[in-house]
Point group: D2
């Protein structure tokens, strides 16, 4: 807020509205000004706008240096100009940090996608094993959401971080013909884009940014969901990086908890309600509404902290993820070959035609499940099936890598998209 | 959190698990213990639970007094026991304050309902004047929502503020057969009810309380909505209490803003998204979930502060509301008697039968609107209408109080319900 | 809506406002009246209220029987009276069905709690095995949330299902002194409670009910979460009931999907946003707002269908749940005894004092994990530990039932509370 | 869904996987296939996916024509492929209609901005008159939000409407090396972009689109908010277009309700909760989640219908908006010149210096308010003020157009941005 008032004085000096000397004084005081946050908050309850006691306090601090300069503080601006522009300034740097964290998470996911392009694990649909896919492909799916966020978030951030400057009614009425020049200079001082007109009552850019932030939280929450499921003792296919004190329990010495995943899932659960608040606040009354801009900084603060917490946690987890390829294979084998049922069915149909093949594979799966034998055993024990597929062809059907389909090409495309976004 | 640990030590001492002397030491240290919030928050990112560094710090502070006593800190409890019970303790006192504020708002609404039981103003439906109602009846409608909140909020609060105590798995396993006795003693120490079993993974009481708090925010937001509309310069029927500096503007010296209404509407817009977050967090994984209890205190804190801010603001507004009965009458008259169309129609139908009466009143209203005359003038200018209603009866039809219907009885009932809830 | 109009005519006849004969005619036509839903919806876009074309169509249908009777249709009521009361009537029967489904789910959970009061499985905190608890205790936790819903939902439903009747402005102005009598008679006809005054602009009872419905969705969603996790192939401790075609896959013949859990989790994810919509709509303008009551029936319909879908699915799942006690034991054993670390630590401390015991158990757990041996083996291999606990005592420490703590009492209390609510 | 299956068969025929003849048969049957929606819905409760009974029914319908062809139906696809792609196809056309409605609303707002570029009305901040602004500038603020939506919505729609095609595990495993070719052909058949990899578990594009739709609802809700406030009888500065039956009341013949604004505000209140649901569903389990994709079409349907309802209503309202420039001037005058306080203060400061000017204007405003005189009268009655401003300069200070500041340039920029987006 002080940065806004400093820049305003300088901009008004540059357009001849405030003597340079006074503008310099204001700017200097703004740099070192101190505010009693509790007192401001208390006063804001009577004034309805924190900017009013803020400007009073600042003016008093300037007046202590120069009574003349003090008369020029905040000239032509309105409370909401200060508050909203201050939010934009805070958002810009907080948003950049979030982009950085999401980029780290994406880079780590990209590395996993590349490194594990041929490491098989069971795809799980509705939490049941389906068929083998590369773990790198799973990481590429995580990456794909981060790629879209990495592309959209900076744009949404840029659109939300623009100058708010309209004065009492929104038309820069106090400046006569010079309003646009002041606005231009002010935008320059703060290095913020100047929109076509003020957005006091058009809060969509904040709502759009809020949704993007919640989507980042969701993207890392999704990774946390999967990592915490893979880290279950009964699954054991991946683990968050180990470190002293990390994931311990206050009562159980043997535990190792997925604390990064926890933080990401926390964010994914908390962000949507906050983003919804911003969506609810799109229809303020006339030129300045009751109850939207006055508190959107609370909401945006919680939203950004929440998403940044989740993104930081998952960046760290992915960078140090312990992948247990042997456990992945073991779990595939524990399905007794049933995860290869699709491959067998496709091969059977080449010999028997689709109808007969389909009936046969259902019979074989049912038998394997009923008798607790493997699908391969069921296949060998069935004369029709044994005839249909020459024995030397059998191992290939039960080879995980042969079931990867287009996974390799998909990974390559996902990586290319990530790199393109990274470098843009 | 320190209160929990103190009470736990004392409860364990009372059940013979911890020597009385050590329990006393722990309790004494808890009273004066100091914590480095930033350090706890930082450590919580590695441990996934703020309770872990908290207990470590507390244990160190106890150990500085007695190494023996330190060994008994937190015995048998789990991180979530401390966190959730601490939230319950905070909720209890914050909730009581919110109840107090809602009660103040209700008392003020009740006073207005009583005082203005015969002060006519236009009912407005879809923001258009409908017909005269007493302002006191309008206040009674405000009161009716507060009455239901005043009845439900304490119950929801009581249900949410219960002991959380289950130990590592939730079954008080560390205590063998003595778990229930410890729990009972602990509940007694903290003066919190003991539930049938722990609610680590059953967060419905928080969600229910969250919704009740959002409903309070809505109830005061509704009043803020109406007051801010009545306070529009063009309406001018009511105004928030005046006070030095209250509702001023940073750029316009003539303004008087509805700042209390603003705060109430702010709460009504912010609370629902926060309450929704708690509703989203009802399905945690197994015995302790990832991402719910770890942050519900943030959400509940924002929610309570938001509703309390709105309730405090509207209590103050209603207690000092400036009601301009003359302006209310003036605005009724500015409708040129059209707000009495229903009364005229009912009277016409006694003479003409309903069908003819209905056609006639539509014609009269249309004429009044077209020609800019009053409904009374249109009525007198229409031979059929003039014949249908004897002239001496006309004034009564255009008397606001005659249009009040059952308003009086309704106000009485609303007041009675408020008093019953107040005294229960 | 037709039921409302029929009841209104009858009530007005009973209070002498409408000739009995005409009221009977209206009531008879209402019973068989037919409406063109598409035409009503289209007309509602111009009128802003579906009740207007509805009343027009009904009036025409009555007029086809008796022009005289037609004149009395809807007398003294307003659009919102019809719409809101119709919603209340629909809610009442839909709500009863939801209560019935939640009761079925609760009964089934209670049975599981009783039947499996001593069936051990691993409690899982943050998705990691903690220590043994009875599966019946886990079911009792599920039950506890349903118990609170079963207690609160009927109350919230009753509070939401009340007569809406205020006429044009809300004060029953068309009826002069007879408004209360008509309202009383109307409430009697519809068997709905009559509130102190209308709630056109006080929508908190719908918001409260919406939250309760979302909480039911969450309570069954929680069960679905746990069942789907227990049903993972790698865990295999419980399974949804098998039935022909149930949970199959369109491409994988071997799959068996947790479809009931899916439906419950769907409800738990969809209900909060809908409930939030009702919380957002608590501050309508003046005596009749823009955009709340006009669509809350959409929101309530989606909400009820969603929760009922989830509750029905989980009732069916719990009634036929396949519990694999052997698998539960196997998974406990797969932790190599580490789930007994708390029990061992407590026993060690009796001999060694707490400080030494704690150090020792940490050492033993670390060794077991490092060397891939069981905790018992680590214990026996450690001279200090072996000395501290006499060999004959060891088996009891590694007996799941000895770790149950207060679980039995907790289950008993949860069952008692359920029964009390069931019978109230 | 049938379009997907037809296109799949044709794509598989083009890649040599299905004989052309059979693919043609399938495609032909798909064009005329009929489905029993109730039966599908019922069956979906057992299968957990509506696609399963759908494919069964379609296969039966194909088999009635050719048993051979029937064997190729749905080959290699999974349930979610059908459902998600079908949603994408529906979204595309529904989304185009929404874009069209938003464009109509924007065009109408642009016309108002142009036509009323010099029509003064009071800017209202916190619902209190501030100072004169052009009504066209107010319309330009409305337009600015629509401009951003018109720019972002098509992009979000395009990103959400992409092919979903991954087969059982997501890797197109059934097609061996030919998966990409089939996917490419299928995308071509449906004219949908093919993403890098399937998005079964990466639902961010739906969430992003949902937020954009809610933002459109908010943008039109904002206009509805302002129009309904301007249309208040006490304000009377604008009115929704009149039409037979439009905005009538079931009980009050004189009423004219803002029904278009109502529908827009309804959308603005309902959309956020629905958009939040999609934000909540970003973290599904592994390769196919429980409860997200199975119902997102309900949510998206409600969301689109809601926003389209609001946008259509406001397009109609803006196209026929009745603007009462005389009433706008009258209301400005009713403030007794206080809306010119800023202009007077700025002029005074040129003569007196800012400090003295500020004190003086506060004194004058207070006096005008206290004595019920105009600011001009107060000014003339004050010797110091009268001296400070030469009498001939006074009228210009109380001329609304002189207070417009940069409004003209702002309007021009807003129009230029709209046209640029329109033509892109």
């Amino acid at each position: 807020m002080a940065r806004f008032e400093a820049a305003l004085a300088l901009a008004e000096s540059r357009t001849g509205l405030v003597p340079a000397e006074h503008a310099q004084t204001i700017a200097r005081v703004c740099e070192r000004a101190e505010f009693d946050a509790t007192a401001l908050a208390r006063a804001a309850r009577t004034t309805g706008a924190i900017a009013i006691p803020f400007v009073q306090s600042l003016t008093a601090q300037v007046a202590a240096v120069s009574a003349e300069a003090a008369r020029h503080v905040h000239f032509g601006a309105t409370s909401q100009d200060v508050t909203d522009t201050a939010v934009a300034l805070c958002l810009r740097s907080a948003g950049e940090r979030l982009i950085g964290l999401a980029t780290r998470a994406g880079d780590a996911a990209a590395q996993l996608a590349e490194r594990h392009a041929r490491t098989p694990l069971a795809a799980r649909t509705l939490l049941q094993p389906a068929l083998p896919v590369p773990f790198g492909w799973k990481a590429a799916v995580w990456l794909s959401a981060l790629t879209r966020s990495r592309s959209r978030l900076p744009a949404a951030l840029a659109q939300a971080c623009t100058l708010q400057f309209g004065g009492a009614g929104g038309t820069l009425s106090a400046f006569g013909a010079r309003g646009d020049a002041v606005a231009e200079a002010l935008a320059g001082e703060l290095d913020l884009p100047r929109p076509a007109l003020p957005w006091h009552s058009a809060r969509d850019a904040f709502a759009r940014l809020g949704a993007e932030i919640a989507i980042v939280a969701g993207a890392v929450g999704k990774i946390g969901r999967d990592v915490s499921l893979l880290m279950q003792a009964e699954v054991g296919e991946a683990a968050e990086p180990a470190a002293a004190g990390r994931g311990g329990s206050s009562s159980l010495p043997h535990k190792r908890n997925p604390v990064g995943s926890l933080l990401a899932l926390e964010a994914a659960q908390r962000a949507p309600g906050l983003a919804a608040t911003l969506l609810v606040q799109l229809a303020p009354e006339h030129e300045r509404g009751l109850g939207q801009w006055q508190s959107q900084w609370f909401t945006l603060r919680e939203l950004l902290c929440s998403a940044a917490s989740g993104a930081a946690a998952m960046a760290e987890v992915l960078e140090g993820l312990e992948v247990d390829a042997a456990a992945m294979r073991r779990n595939l084998e524990r399905t007794r070959g049933l995860v290869y049922s699709e491959a067998v069915a496709v091969r059977l149909s080449r010999t028997l035609g689709k109808a007969a093949a389909h009936q046969l594979i259902e019979k074989l799966c049912a038998r394997a499940q009923r008798e607790g034998i493997t699908l391969l055993e069921a296949l060998r024990a069935d004369p029709e099936a044994a005839r249909a597929i020459p024995a030397p062809e059998l191992p290939a059907l039960f080879d995980a890598e042969n079931a990867f389909g287009s996974a390799g090409a998909m990974i390559a495309r996902a990586l290319a998209e990530w790199r393109a976004v990274r470098e843009s």
